[in-house]
């Protein structure tokens, strides 16, 4: 049953799901990929560039996991290095310069935990994205299409609208990690998944996302057409808003206000 949170985690991680590039290729026209963070390297775990949404030029960024074993290894299983976040920020700043809306597709178990990633400032890269995205002058929509793993996902999700696929998950820590830290037993991941409230329905009821996207016909033309329609409609609304940055600030400012007790 897909209602059980840990089942959702498994579905979100399923190799058969469409990946970031599938969304880019099927929703937009004429995608032109841009590479590199202009500082150190090009991170294949993050794909970005420009394309047309109907006729309008937009900047698209996606965390890409790949499908085959070879692709997945090349994409580092969708775990970005700092260069991935820096490339994303570079492309967002470029979008701002040319007045293009930004769409981010997110699918990662988390930012990569490695020696090089630490040496080259994974924390600094994520922190900078969080800061800079909060005042980006163009509309941003982020869609969690599979795994939304903690700060590594949030670093592309400081957006005006955040949407989730029905079986995507969004969490501060993996259920296995949580179970291992709290109960010294990663086998209790199921229990942790339920406690963490990481499903799309949970995220919506917590006010963390605005919309849950149905997975009917997932990967088929109708599925992508539907998302294209929603994006077009939403960007039309957002582009009319004279106080985009103020509202984005308030969006994050008030999430979980009820979680703080004043006594």
């Amino acid at each position: 049953m897909s209602g059980v949170p840990y089942e959702r985690v498994k579905l979100a991680r399923d190799n058969g799901r469409p990946t970031g590039l599938d969304y880019i290729k099927n929703i937009f026209n004429g995608f032109i990929e841009f590479h590199g963070d202009r500082r150190f390297a090009d991170d294949p775990a993050v794909v970005g560039g420009i394309a047309r949404l109907n006729n309008q030029p937009v900047t698209v960024i996606a965390i890409e996991k790949g499908h085959t074993a070879k692709e997945r290894a090349y994409r580092n299983f969708g775990a970005p290095h700092p260069e991935g976040y820096r490339k994303a920020l570079r492309l967002m700043k470029q979008a701002e310069k040319f007045g293009r809306p930004v769409i981010c597709f997110i699918d990662t178990s988390g930012a990569y935990c490695g020696i090089g990633a630490e040496e080259r400032g994974q924390v600094q890269a994520i922190a900078e994205n969080l800061m800079e995205m909060s005042t980006l002058c163009v509309p941003v929509i982020s869609i969690l299409i599979g795994e939304g793993g903690s700060g590594g996902a949030l670093a592309l999700a400081v957006a005006d609208r955040v949407w989730m696929l029905k079986n995507a998950v969004y969490s501060v820590i993996s259920p296995e990690g949580c179970a291992s830290i709290l109960w010294k037993d990663s086998a209790k991941a199921e229990e942790a998944a339920a406690s963490l409230k990481l499903t799309a329905e949970d995220a919506k009821s917590l006010g963390v996302i605005e919309r849950i996207l149905s997975e009917n016909e997932m990967g088929k033309k109708d599925f992508y057409d539907r998302i294209r329609g929603l994006l077009t409609e939403e960007f039309n609304e957002l582009s009319k808003d004279p106080d985009l940055i103020g509202k984005r600030y308030d969006r994050f400012r008030h999430i979980g206000a009820h979680a703080v007790v004043k006594e």
Binding site: C113, Q122, A127, L130, L196
Partner: protein, 283 residues
């Protein structure tokens, strides 16, 4: 103005303080083993030296003791002490855990915020508390820090922040994750208003706190030997199946890689912060 003018007598902690020493006191002369030089150091000697071992090792320090060390006498006015985390996800065991920690630490949350004077310079000050769930960031921590940056922006004050954190507080799930975005947006507004923010990273500053406001300061300092990073060393070893370089994630390592401005021992912190505040003319 010469730096020497800012030299002040070292804080003697003569007021005693409301917080207990972070070690059990036995009968006789209590001692604490230094993990660096492996010598047993009398507690009284450590306390007289701001919990720094003669070998230079910096022991963890309670937040209120640190405030006493850094802020001018009687200048600290606490803000937002009424803000506490509830249990928004009804996470199993969280409420009891928080209660136990509150009693043991004498604190209500993992950060203390307020206004203070440092060497006569007015500023907003936040100090995170390692003795409260290892400084983990839940909704209340995020709310207090965000509110402090908003206060500082409104009153055009610089912010000084001492960080210590194991990361986001997982018992608050996504709501704790969102604190990273919320605090970052508030830091950005403060920064865009042309105001100064100095972070001092203490041991350990890791996870979601490092990946948000700890790394967003204009000037980032760290205590000697502090662990500063994203993922825990064990997680990295398991992920990469590689042994870690010597000194990995220590503040000296992070300095060498270009992510902090400097390392400053406890005994020099007040003098340096005073000078930095003065050079920015109160923000």
């Amino acid at each position: 103005m010469a730096l020497i003018n800012f030299l002040k007598p070292k804080n003697q902690l003569e007021e005693g303080g409301r917080t207990a020493a972070p070690v059990q006191q036995d009968a006789g002369e209590p001692e604490k083993k230094c993990p660096n030089c492996h010598k047993d150091i009398p507690i009284s000697r450590l306390w007289a030296n701001d919990l720094v071992c003669p070998c230079g090792h910096h022991f963890r320090m309670k937040a209120r003791q640190r405030i006493k060390m850094i802020a001018d006498k009687k200048s600290f006015h606490e803000l937002y002490s009424e803000m506490k985390s509830g249990n928004p996800l009804h996470f199993p065991g969280y409420k009891d855990k928080v209660e136990t920690v509150r009693v043991a630490s004498g604190e209500e949350e993992a950060v203390i915020c307020g206004t203070a004077k440092i060497g006569e310079e007015m500023c907003c000050l936040f100090v995170m508390e390692s003795y409260f769930m290892m400084g983990s960031m839940g909704s209340a921590v995020g709310e207090k820090i965000t509110s402090l940056f908003e206060y500082a922006t409104e009153h055009r004050l610089p912010v000084i922040g001492f960080t210590v954190s194991g990361g986001a507080r997982m018992q608050e799930g996504l709501l704790s994750l969102m604190q990273m975005a919320k605090t970052s947006a508030a830091v950005k507004r403060h920064s865009d208003a042309g105001l100064l923010y100095i972070a001092v990273l203490t041991d350990p500053t890791t996870g979601g706190v490092t990946a948000s406001f700890a790394m967003e300061a204009d000037i980032i300092l760290a205590e000697p030997g502090a662990t500063v990073g994203f993922a825990g060393a064990r997680v990295i070893e398991q992920t990469t199946k590689k042994s870690l370089p010597t000194g990995f994630q220590k503040s000296e390592f992070v300095l060498e890689h270009g992510f902090i401005d400097g390392i400053v021992s406890r005994s020099d912190q007040k003098k340096l912060l005073t000078e930095l505040l003065s050079m920015h003319n109160g923000g």
